[in-house]
């Protein structure tokens, strides 16, 4: 633990020392940089288990990206998150990629977030809401699954847009881990098949099916199947209507233990109120479908979260959000009960050359 902290501290020093130098070199090597800061506050109005108030810098991301040569591009991303009260930088991304070697094909190799689902592919500061849906927290370890990977994405030049991604990751650990992990029996492998439909009045609908599998060193086999959906209408700077949703099923099978199946989803519709102000409401659901009572009868153990969110976006480089979250829990056939409620606030800003976002 001490050596880990020491290396993270050393990395932080390197980042802070060399960042201006990298920026100064930007004009000569095409190097671009950006820094994104994500400040989040949460005040529990009703909670039995968590501390009442907390404000913290959830993340500071420093990214460098540039062409390496006529065929390849590279990016390095270093992020600091608070862990045990201390924010230290760690490597998030170090990839070499190319979209110029094989026609219609993008390749990526190195450390990065897997190109799977919706939230897993977007930096947290770019999410359209403040907190993490339970499905993302449980299945993708909050911020997302990040690993050493080899990934290929093919865009077909067809009338109906179709994009297919297949990838394989080292899989010694899964999600956010600070240890080396162990050699898995089957490394993390994943795929994403995406298509797109034109909607009336300039809208678009992107739908993707996803699969992820892995068998850990202790023979625990995990499989994830999911669907992500984004529908968006844009009018100039504003997005009058956005609908984002993900539904995932996870099956985990450990030796000598019954298979566990869990289902999680979120739906987030958001509408524009006036030019820079949006209102959205997120509905989350998460259940372990295989939970049984003492008599072996299936029992509903769903948790729900409802989060109305107000977003003020003065420009594409800064965002202010405020939200109120209600947590509910159902046990058996009973009506869901409120468990926690909290007030959330967020401020994000980006300095430097942030690349374009996905749809």
């Amino acid at each position: 633990m001490r050596s880990e902290r020491a290396s993270a501290f050393a990395l932080s020093c390197v980042v802070l020392f060399f960042a201006p130098l990298f920026t100064a070199l930007a004009d000569t090597g095409g190097l671009k940089t950006f820094v994104a800061v994500d400040l989040v506050g949460e005040a529990f109005v009703r909670s039995k288990v968590v501390s009442p108030r907390e404000v913290e810098v959830r993340g500071v991301e420093v990214y460098f990206f540039a062409p390496v040569d006529p065929l390849f591009d590279a990016s390095v991303g270093i992020a600091a998150h608070p862990e045990n009260g201390v924010s230290l930088f760690e490597l998030h991304e170090a990839t070499l990629s190319s979209s110029k070697v094989i026609p219609h094909t993008q390749m990526r190799i190195g450390k990065g977030f897997l190109n799977i689902g919706k939230l897993n592919r977007i930096h947290q500061h770019d999410w359209p809401f403040i907190d993490t849906p339970e499905v993302q927290r449980s299945f993708f370890d909050d911020e997302g699954v990040n690993d050493l990977l080899l990934e290929v994405t093919v865009n077909t030049p067809t009338f109906v847009p179709f994009e297919a991604t297949v990838g394989i990751a080292k899989g010694w650990v899964y999600g956010h881990a600070h240890n080396a992990g162990k050699r898995p029996q089957v490394p993390t492998h994943y795929s994403r098949m995406q298509t797109f439909f034109d909607l009336p009045r300039g809208g678009g609908l992107q739908v993707a099916g996803n699969y992820l599998g892995r068998t850990a060193s202790d023979s625990v086999k995990t499989q994830l199947l999911g669907l992500d959906l984004t529908a968006k209408w844009r009018e100039g700077r504003t997005v009058p209507l956005l609908l984002q949703s993900e539904v995932w099923v996870r099956r985990v099978k450990a030796p000598q233990v019954d298979r566990e199946t869990a289902l999680g989803m979120y739906v987030f519709p958001q509408m524009n109120l006036i030019e820079m102000l949006d209102f959205g409401i997120r509905f989350d659901q998460f259940s372990v479908l295989t939970t049984k009572d003492a008599l072996g009868k299936s029992i509903d153990n769903s948790t729900y979260r409802i989060v109305p969110t107000l977003t003020h976006k003065p420009s594409e480089f800064s965002t202010f959000r405020i939200a109120y979250a209600w947590d509910l829990k159902r046990r058996g056939d009973a009506t869901p009960n409120f468990t926690n409620s909290s007030l959330l606030a967020q401020m994000t800003y980006v300095i430097g050359a942030h690349p374009s976002h996905e749809f």
Binding site: I102, V166, G202, Q206, E235, S315, F359
Partner: protein, 320 residues
């Protein structure tokens, strides 16, 4: 791993038609443009020798566009990609090009055509700009297509790009381009005469605009630029700014404010309330949407001029 194999097979099936597509493309090159205006020019210049498609439909604001997967699919099929340039599409086109993964279509590639590189840009910032100045285009104003003659000069780029990807078509478009150039010069002269004969120009008429996108238009049609409603480019003006510009226009007897249809309607309504003037809200791009009355560039320019004359007359009557 079975899943991976299944995916690999699916990919192979998908990839196979590429070669067939490539053969078709070799017969008739596909030119994909970002905006409808470029597509219109490309069709006029290249005729039936090529197929031309536009990513946008004419209703969007090309400054703010999403990286839509259907754009990626269209660019992936293209032999030539044409952009307005001068950083107008900087927020989305680079990502579309990267995702389409066609080496020749990346900036600098033989199939990439930047109309703006032939334009002597106006409104170039004289000092270094950053985001505190708003959405400033560091390379200058990209809205040159509203000036017919300048647009025609810029459109020459598409010939060069098509000839680079299809050397067998070299020299085949020169005659068409000369005719196109003449037609655009004629259009500009004709519309100028129309403006001159209307009450709008008793010399050099002055106008204000919502966003600085009529600079080239003003120069071509001998209009005098008075000011901009936006305090900073790309950011909606405050109520105080609306009142300030309104007062300045009244003092200086400027009765015409032009805005593109993509300007925020709420702000425009507010300005009309404050100033008592009617704003000339005009289309700034050819529209390919069904039942559009501005399906061609000459019709678009006529529509702008008609709108300016109508609104100018209306406002002159109001202040009289």
């Amino acid at each position: 791993m079975v899943y991976l194999l299944a995916v690999a097979v699916a990919l192979l099936i998908t990839v196979k038609p590429f070669s067939a597509n490539a053969q078709i493309a070799a017969k008739k090159p596909l030119v994909v443009t970002t905006t409808t205006d470029l597509a219109w020019a490309a069709r006029e210049i290249l005729g039936d020798a090529v197929e031309v498609r536009s990513l946008l439909t004419g209703r969007e604001d090309p400054h703010f566009v999403d990286v839509r997967p259907d754009y990626v699919a269209q660019v992936a099929q293209a032999d030539v990609v044409c952009a307005v340039g001068l950083d107008l599409e900087v927020g989305w086109l680079p990502k579309v090009l990267a995702k389409a993964a066609q080496r020749d279509l990346q900036p600098g590639g033989k199939g990439y055509c930047d109309f703006g590189s032939r334009v002597d840009a106006l409104d170039k910032p004289e000092q270094a700009v950053d985001r505190s100045h708003g959405d400033v285009h560091p390379k200058g104003n990209p809205h040159y297509w509203l000036a017919p003659v300048i647009f025609a000069q810029a459109a020459r780029q598409v010939i060069d790009a098509v000839e680079r990807v299809r050397p067998d078509l070299k020299g085949k478009f020169e005659l068409r381009y000369s005719e196109f150039n003449r037609m655009m010069m004629g259009l500009e002269a004709q519309l100028k005469t129309r403006l001159r004969s209307a009450s709008i120009t008793g010399g050099r008429a002055r106008f204000a605009e919502y966003h600085r996108e009529f600079s080239y238009f003003a120069r071509s049609f001998s209009l005098e630029h008075f000011g901009v409603l936006e305090e900073k480019p790309g950011l909606p003006p405050s109520a105080a700014q609306l009142a300030k510009v309104s007062a300045q226009m009244r003092t200086n007897k400027v009765h015409l404010l032009i805005a593109a249809r993509t300007a925020p309607p709420r702000v425009l309504r507010k300005f009309e309330e404050i100033s008592g003037l009617t704003i000339a809200v005009v289309p700034v791009s050819v529209s390919v949407l069904p039942a559009s009355d501005i399906a061609t560039y000459p019709r678009l320019m006529e529509k702008i001029i008609e709108e300016l004359i109508a609104v100018s007359d209306k406002n002159s009557a109001k202040v009289r």
